[in-house]
């Protein structure tokens, strides 16, 4: 049941879908590049955890999902919401803390989420989304809805207790859940190999669910693993664990560039970049005759315009009114509940 699977190239994919995978990855890459600029220019406050390098994971997994499927996202979550179909303008607006943002400026980078397209929260606590995905999956199963819940988490979550509790619940109740471990090799600066004996996907065996390990730099491999997992989930057979071997190009967060951290060698970073998910996919599409160089360039240009427009939208969106700082806490507020810090 448990096996490592190699990058898959044998399946024939419609050209339009192949290009959409490229488009989605290019969108994340350009989005994150712009995020770095906006952070440097102090237009974005706080910290951002860029998804660059891991695009094939979000896009490959979400490529196998429908709009009504849901995901729980992480602190490194921009890629998940974008891959699920999030709007670039509303994403930037959230990062700029504006009312036009998905969370009306109440969430920011770490909690950016569009519930309408099935993002059930982006979590600043490692592993915390896993049981949330299980609860949503239970509803889908109980209501006989043909929907799937995906929980994204990093290799850092693999030793977090609640993830294991959640995997157990999903397994005993055959829940339509896919556990996606984005193994980018480091929990901030701690190498996975120093804190874990076996590979993450092996843990799935303990819960009696299939555990697979795929090349997370290969969008096609991730997509096919996700398809198998969603089919299993949709036919009532229960959860799957997918480990995606990947790498983040930037530091743990934007500010890390300015700190002299040396937990990764430049040689290691360069080696992973040789297997860039976007370049690999562009090359493979061209080799297979799914598109030409001009098509790639056209998509890149289209994304560039979308990013520019998104930033423009964000900048024009008004900031929230401080008098409304307590809004959104409750669906049903009461007098003095929530209370201000000073009696009005």
């Amino acid at each position: 049941m448990e096996h490592k699977i190699e990058a898959s190239t044998s399946n024939i994919m419609p050209a339009q879908f192949a290009r959409s995978l490229y488009y989605d990855m290019a969108r994340i890459r350009q989005f994150e590049n712009r995020v770095v600029t906006l952070v440097d220019d102090n237009e974005i406050a706080g910290v951002c955890h860029e998804y660059s390098g891991q695009e094939a994971v979000a896009v490959g997994i979400c490529g196998a999902l429908t709009t009504s499927d849901i995901v729980t996202s992480t602190h490194r979550g921009h890629g998940h919401t974008l891959a699920k179909g999030g709007d670039v303008g509303r994403m930037f607006a959230e990062l700029l803390a504006r009312t036009g943002g998905y969370n009306k400026g109440r969430g920011g980078s770490m909690h950016i989420a569009d519930v309408g397209i099935g993002i059930f929260g982006a979590n600043g606590i490692v592993g915390a989304g896993a049981p949330i995905a299980c609860g949503a999956a239970h509803k889908f199963k109980a209501a006989r809805e043909n929907r799937v819940a995906v929980s994204f988490f990093g290799d850092g979550a693999i030793n977090q207790g609640v993830l294991h509790e959640a995997m157990n619940l999903a397994a005993i109740w055959d829940l339509p859940v896919i556990f996606v471990c984005e193994n980018n090799q480091y929990a901030i600066s701690t190498p996975l190999k120093e804190v874990t004996i076996l590979d993450p996907y092996v843990r799935a065996q303990s819960y009696g669910m299939p555990g697979v390990c795929v090349d997370g730099m290969d969008v096609e491999a991730v997509y096919h693993a996700a398809l198998t997992a969603t089919e299993r989930a949709r036919t009532g057979k229960g959860p799957t664990f997918i480990e995606c071997q990947t790498y983040r190009y930037f530091g743990h967060y934007t500010g890390e560039r300015h700190m002299k951290m040396n937990y990764r060698s430049q040689e290691e970073v360069d080696r992973w970049k040789l297997r860039d998910p976007i370049k690999i996919w562009a090359a493979r599409m061209m080799e297979s005759g799914l598109c030409a160089q001009e098509d790639i360039e056209a998509i890149d240009a289209e994304v560039n315009i979308e990013i520019d427009r998104g930033v423009e939208f964000a900048r024009s969106s008004p900031p929230p009114n401080p008098a409304e700082a307590l809004d959104c806490m409750y669906a049903v507020p009461y007098p003095n509940t929530p209370a201000w810090g000073v009696e009005p």
């Binding site: 609860g135 619940l169 409750y330």
Partner: protein, 327 residues
């Protein structure tokens, strides 16, 4: 009217709420078995998909309810001992309590957390005797703490109907108490305190299982010392019925708070602050708090009694504020 125990009133509320709305489900440990009776008959009536027995995984089943709520269900999460919430604290405090604001109001979280056998029961020692509502109030949960069977049923129905996370405190000492309970489904609204006994000399604000104790002390003082004590029960701690609270305080000008949570940053501390800020000019004496001491519950029964707030302490406090005069 028909008399039910607090526990039976909870059971009836569960049955009626689940019967009225098929999105209501219940999850926790030993729910089907019904180790005390409050979940009796639920599994037979509503089946496996709405009555879920979990492994010992408090964090996971708490997060599970959050996900189920986001997907459109109205989960009841039952903790068989209140101190189990500490195992699930991230899922409660960082997730459920913060999620709506962090999402900018995109989703509601209609979840009811039932904390069974809250407080001390005699000899249950340090990890099974807590009344953890101050932590939950601090985190922003709506919290109800009914003191009798009627309020238990009505507040449970309202908790399940409320579109926000609500904590229902089921005090251990209240569970066997009997009282009149209507058969039909009814809700006790949040933010509405209740004058459980009218009086004019001193206001006693009592919480949960301490309300019957306060009523007994008030009765004795009326008969033995001709002191008229008003007993005010907030019923929901958040939202708090400030208007009702201040009305009673302004009437008597003398206040004793009787609460079984820690003295430091306990619920009595918050009530004292509110009264001090908003009714200072009405006060004829300093507020007195009769609370639990600031230590984990010791096992020995005499030590336990020394840590818990007691009727004698309440009586002494009432007499002290009653006779207090500015020098």
């Amino acid at each position: 009217m028909r008399q039910l125990r607090f526990l039976q009133a909870m059971n009836e509320a569960y049955h009626q709420a689940m019967g009225a709305d098929e999105s209501v489900m219940i999850i926790g440990e030993d729910i089907r078995g019904g180790i005390r009776g409050e979940t009796k008959g639920l599994h037979g009536a509503f089946g496996d998909l709405r009555v879920l027995d979990t492994p010992i995984s408090e964090a996971a089943f708490t997060g599970f309810a959050t996900g189920a709520a986001l997907a459109g269900l109205r989960p009841i999460v039952q903790f068989q001992v209140p101190s189990l919430i500490y195992v699930a604290f991230d899922q409660l405090v960082n997730q459920a309590a913060k999620m709506r604001l962090m999402l900018g109001g995109q989703a509601n979280l209609p979840i009811t957390y039932t904390l069974m056998v809250s407080g001390s029961r005699g000899g249950n020692a340090g990890q099974h005797s807590d009344n953890p509502y101050p932590y939950l109030l601090h985190a922003g949960f709506k919290v109800v703490c009914p003191s009798n069977a009627y309020d238990a049923k009505g507040l449970m129905i309202q908790a399940i109907r409320e579109d926000d996370p609500v904590v229902f405190i089921a005090s251990a000492m209240s569970l066997p108490q009997k009282g009149p309970v209507p058969e039909e489904i009814y809700a006790v609204p949040f933010g509405c305190g209740d004058v459980k006994r009218e009086g004019s000399d001193v206001t006693v604000i009592a919480i949960g299982h301490l309300v019957p104790e306060a009523l007994a002390v008030a009765e004795r003082l009326a008969q033995e010392k001709n002191i008229s004590v008003e007993v005010w029960d907030p019923r929901s701690l958040l939202p708090l019925d400030r208007e009702g609270l201040l009305k009673s305080v302004k009437k008597t000008g003398r206040v004793v708070i009787y609460d079984d949570t820690n003295r430091t940053c306990g619920f009595a501390a918050e009530l004292s602050a509110i009264i001090g800020e908003l009714a200072f000019s009405s006060l004829k004496a300093p507020i007195k708090r009769v609370t639990r001491a600031d230590v984990p519950m010791p096992f020995n029964l005499a030590l336990e009694a020394a840590v818990l707030p007691k009727p004698q302490q309440l009586e002494d406090a009432i007499l002290a504020v009653r006779s207090y005069a500015h020098v």
